[in-house]
């Protein structure tokens, strides 16, 4: 007999807050998360036009410290960590020796020997194991995912809102820069980071704070944002916002079977400066060119691309498949990402393609994201 493992569904420190706000909850990556509050489209527009508030505390965090910290991170990820200074972050991926993507992540340099790695909720366990087994410089790794909450404040009014709850001057915080606040200076948090980052394509901040202080921070943000009609936003809007912006989602557009070059992430893959796991494989792929390529597309006929639908050439040959698809709330049209054969006649912007599923198909046009600004 096989033994069945009971999977414990986790809650973020803001679970009761979401229920109190009337959120529809769903299980995602092992967490009970809000999928929507007022409605995906309403929340989406709030973020594009004013400001929205997301609980993304399900994201994982690993603290890397010690004399081996830099060397560990540099060999782990594809991007060049020497580019970081204290207070700066970068987006990157970590790969298998074959070049497959183990996860996409943010690397924060807190100090020369202290880095924070922010990983996808669905990968926390596997990522941490991967890191522990690829640690030649004996860096000290600590999975602090349960100790930290993460609240994203996103939208053109985001800085106005957050500035009301901190005296730190946010105006000088450039994109992909952050400030680590001193203990007991932000809602009595021992750890608090204000980061100019996000996953929506709008100006925004992400706030890392002590898990038990998250409800206080959330409520202060809701109150501070009231004058801008701030809205709590769920994972539904988070997904439509990232897709309109053309950002990859691990599990859809990225995975062990995809490499960063075909995913269009060559810009975060340093192939000429120093070794990292997967570099040799990626060099080979770069030489020959990837066999397929991630492209964006917008429906030109009625129809919404859905994950798993076929992508066909205009004359009906299968050239790939959709990895993410949705209705764009801004365009009121279908949008999507998918891999197609890496040939200019399929990947060039403006190429007509057919999106097909269940015996039906409709036309779309290869388009470079962000879709909502086209």
């Amino acid at each position: 007999m096989t033994e069945k493992k009971a999977i414990k569904i986790k809650r973020t420190p803001l679970f009761d807050t979401h229920v109190g706000l009337g959120a529809r909850m769903t299980t995602f990556a092992g967490f009970e998360m809000p999928i929507q509050y007022s409605g995906i489209i309403d929340e989406h527009h709030a973020v594009r036009n004013a400001v929205g508030l997301f609980d993304v505390s399900h994201m994982g965090e690993v603290m890397v410290t010690g004399p081996g910290a830099f060397e560990f991170v540099q060999q782990l990820v594809s991007n060049d960590v020497t580019r970081l200074i204290d207070g700066k972050a970068l987006y990157t991926v970590m790969c298998t020796p074959q070049g497959g993507v183990v996860d996409d992540l943010l690397v924060y340099r807190l100090a020369a020997q202290r880095y924070l790695l922010v990983i996808n909720a669905s990968n926390i366990g596997e990522d941490y194991k991967w890191m522990m087994s690829h640690n030649p410089s004996d860096a000290v790794l600590e999975n602090i995912s349960d100790q930290l909450a993460l609240i994203a404040v996103q939208g053109p009014r985001s800085f106005d809102v957050v500035q009301k709850i901190t005296d730190e001057p946010l105006g000088s915080l450039d994109f992909y820069h952050f400030m680590e606040l001193k203990p007991d200076t932000f809602f009595t948090c021992q750890t608090a980071i204000l980061s100019h980052t996000g996953y929506t394509g709008e100006r925004g901040l992400e706030i890392y704070c002590d898990a038990d202080r998250a409800p206080a921070v959330w409520n202060a943000l809701m109150e501070a944002g009231a004058e801008y009609n701030i809205k709590p936003a769920g994972l539904g809007a988070r997904d439509t916002l990232r897709l309109e912006s053309g950002f990859c989602l691990y599990g859809n557009d990225l995975g062990l079977e995809t490499n960063p070059l075909e995913a269009g992430l060559g810009w975060l893959t340093r192939l000429d400066t120093g070794d990292f796991i997967g570099r040799d494989a990626l060099l080979k792929i770069k030489e020959t060119g990837p066999a397929r390529r991630l492209v964006g597309f917008v429906s030109t006929e009625r129809g919404i691309p859905r994950q798993g639908s076929e992508i066909q050439s205009e004359d009906g040959k299968v050239i790939g498949s959709v990895t993410s698809g949705s209705q764009s709330p801004v365009l009121s049209k279908g949008i999507g990402l998918g891999y197609v054969l890496n040939k200019p006649e399929f990947t060039a912007v403006g190429t007509p393609v057919r999106i097909a599923s269940r015996g039906r198909s409709f036309l779309a046009k290869v388009t470079r994201p962000p879709f909502h600004r086209t």
């Binding site: 529809r24 489209i41 919404i304």
Partner: protein, 128 residues
């Protein structure tokens, strides 16, 4: 959760309003169904002007994130699609029992109406 007494229902969360003479019916999805699906953005009716048997699919309804099939609550000919929904699919959310009706069926076997749920029976399904 609104469940009008004068309508009939299916376990697929569709409502049916049978005409006074019993020959046709309008079909939509219930308040509960639209609330579960979220913002409706697109409807595609495959079976317009076709005869379709009870329980067979007649089209799909798409929310932002999901696609669901729509099933015939009764056998008949799909006479009409509420074309207002082409440009205003959100009416299915805002007025599911009124402006948000989806198709009109010419019934081929009106006796099947007796197999449908009444409001009380449907309310029990939603409650569980």
């Amino acid at each position: 959760m609104s469940i009008p007494k004068d309508l009939r229902y299916t376990t697929d969360h569709e409502w049916i309003r049978v005409s006074d003479d019993g020959s046709t019916c309008k079909v939509g999805i219930t308040h509960f169904a639209q609330s579960e699906l979220g913002d409706i953005v697109y409807l595609e009716i495959d079976a317009l002007d076709e005869d379709v048997a009870k329980d067979d699919p007649f089209g799909t309804i798409e929310a932002v994130k999901t696609v669901s099939e729509l099933f015939m609550p009764l056998s008949g000919h799909v006479d009409e699609f509420n074309e207002v929904l082409d440009d205003n699919p959100e009416l299915v959310n805002t007025d599911p029992y009124g402006e948000g009706w989806i198709i009109l069926i010419q019934l081929s076997d009106p006796a099947q109406v007796e197999e449908l749920l009444d409001a009380e029976a449907y309310a029990k399904i939603v409650a569980t």
